[in-house]
Symmetry: C2
Subunit: 356 residues, 2 copies
């Protein structure tokens, strides 16, 4: 039976926040999408309703066994007042990849994308227009059954909430300092690293805090087996420009298959640059650095799009990248991607989807 | 400032379930303990209140970044109608170990244990009396701040809920069949394996489901680095009796420090048996098996106390243990531990704590 989307509009719109002081993930729009799952009915009762709290039994399994996954994407307002999504179908696909890994039943990706578009339409006045601002979109699923046995839940909720967010680089793009993590591990082969599960993020907080205490903005994660090979930076994928080549860690099951990562790879190949997805050891990178061949380093992710790295700290060695300035390729990728996202640069790949 | 426990009793007691058909973790008592945390106030407003749903903003961080930990212990009714807890201070300690690993602020262990005792007193008629039944106790903590940035939450809730549970071995103790997992990994050095975090359990579900589909009741987890060394069985610690010696995997950071595991070790040493906490490879165990020296295998955990293992399936080899019957040591440990828990066997270690 096809799902029928129900829409209940709010009777009282919220006061809008100051759109010049949005920050990230603090303000939420007037409405949200919500849908339920039960073992008997499957996913049912999809609806757009006023943004409201969720009420759960204290025994709801999400609090105990952490079956929870999420996605993150953005809607962008163009200068001619259209609203664009960037490759949203990739996020819907990955939501199901994450669901599968922790035994949450799959969702209908096309239906969910339609519902998302409708939700944005309903809350379109929340899509900010100042340069660099956007509407952050957070779909997420969690288990709700009140039961303390360890098994997959028989009931779930899926929500989409929307948050207008400020420009990531409000003060201009500034390279970050990264601590190469050699104590904590984010993910391992056979684990959940390639899924966007809540538990992966909880597990990462302590390392992030310790890196911050040492004066670094993020950690660079190494593989869980040998502690040698580069995986991700913070909650981003990572790229290296080495002697004219561009390297990024190959997807190996413990690295997230980032939408921005995938887009950067396509752009670089489109530009005819030599790109390698491969296993990269920190040692190999350090050797390239000592030869003066480590030209640029940047992270990729939905929030920042492209995040230049100015310094890597590894086992007492400080690798200063590109004189701690933003590299040319880094900047070109940032401008091209954000240009496509905001409808200002030609989109040769058909990546953007216009909200009606 | 010392925390002051507030008690609000329910006006309408629930109808009790059939205490001969309790199952596990499905029924909850009339009251619960709850306490809040904010960055400004620390832990505040501890209270015993009627069991009731929890209301959260959809952006509450627990749904997204999974900062959630829990504990599990039991209260036992003795034949002379006292109520005993088993080493509850160990669970409070471990709660803080888990908190620390995923950046949740610590709780006052002594205060929480007092509050737990008061809660059980309030709901004492829910402690069942039939043989093997008990009151399962679930303390848990989760993040509540409505914010989508990836960092530790600034607010939390800690709850304790109580659930009367049936006898684990209602139909008698029966050895289980275990699948040695060689595809999925539960935890790795540098990860969260020794913490009781929600995400660890979410990550384990898929392997459990696949093992069930193959006809096994549980998985035996191997280490995440080499995939060779034994870690845990399902959500239990594991012991092997090999040629008169008793072996269990040494705590290595990725194995949970089980209260039952610790108690079994103390009992075995008290009995003068040769006990080794060490790294144990599946290969070494298989060799012992082929020499006819693998005499008994059992899991240890709060729910089952002792769970005999009758078969291990490893890379196509079926290891049948003790003719798939419960071993003598396995049974002696079960009877001694449950005897102490129910106040029927002398408690030389001072493990039990009486609820007033």
């Amino acid at each position: 039976m096809a799902l029928q989307l129900d829409v209940v509009l709010t009777k009282e719109k919220k006061e809008k926040p100051d759109f010049t002081q949005l920050g990230f993930g603090q303000h939420f729009t007037d409405h949200m999408f919500i849908m339920d799952y039960s073992a008997e009915k499957g996913w049912y009762d999809p609806r757009i309703v006023p943004y409201a709290p969720v009420t759960l039994d204290p025994a709801a399994m999400v609090f105990h066994y952490g079956q929870a996954v999420f996605e993150g994407l953005k809607a962008y307002r163009t200068k001619d007042n259209r609203i664009l999504l960037f490759r949203p179908e990739k996020n819907m696909q990955r939501l199901n990849t994450s669901n599968e890994r922790i035994s949450i039943p799959p969702v209908d990706e096309a239906f969910l994308l339609d519902a998302l578009q409708k939700l944005i339409e309903v809350d379109q006045e929340w899509v900010p227009s100042a340069p660099g601002t956007s509407l952050y979109i957070r779909p997420f699923v969690f288990s709700t059954e009140p039961y303390l046995g360890v098994r997959a839940s028989h009931s779930y909720k899926l929500l989409i909430i929307l948050s207008p967010v400020g420009a990531y680089y409000g003060d201009g793009m500034k390279p970050v300092k990264i601590h190469v993590e050699n104590k904590y591990v984010r993910a391992v082969r056979g684990g959940t690293g390639n899924a966007k599960t809540a538990g992966n993020y909880a597990a990462s907080l302590k390392a992030q805090n310790e890196a911050k205490d040492l004066g670094y903005e993020q950690v660079l994660w190494l593989d869980g087996v040998e502690g040698k090979y580069i995986e991700e930076v913070g909650a981003m994928n990572v790229f290296f420009k080495v002697n004219g080549e561009i390297w990024t860690p190959a997807l190996n099951g413990s690295i997230l298959d980032g939408v921005t990562r995938n887009s950067v790879l396509q752009l670089l190949r489109h530009w005819g640059l030599p790109v390698y997805e491969k296993r990269i050891s920190m040692e190999e990178l350090y050797e390239a650095y000592t030869r003066g061949e480590l030209e640029e380093v940047f992270g990729t992710g939905t929030a920042a799009v492209i995040s230049p790295v100015g310094e890597l700290s590894w086992n007492g060695n400080q690798l200063r990248i590109h004189e701690q300035q933003v590299g040319e390729l880094t900047m070109k990728l940032y401008e091209t991607l954000t240009g496509i996202q905001y409808g200002e640069v030609e989109d040769p790949f058909g990546w953007t989807v216009q909200v009606n």
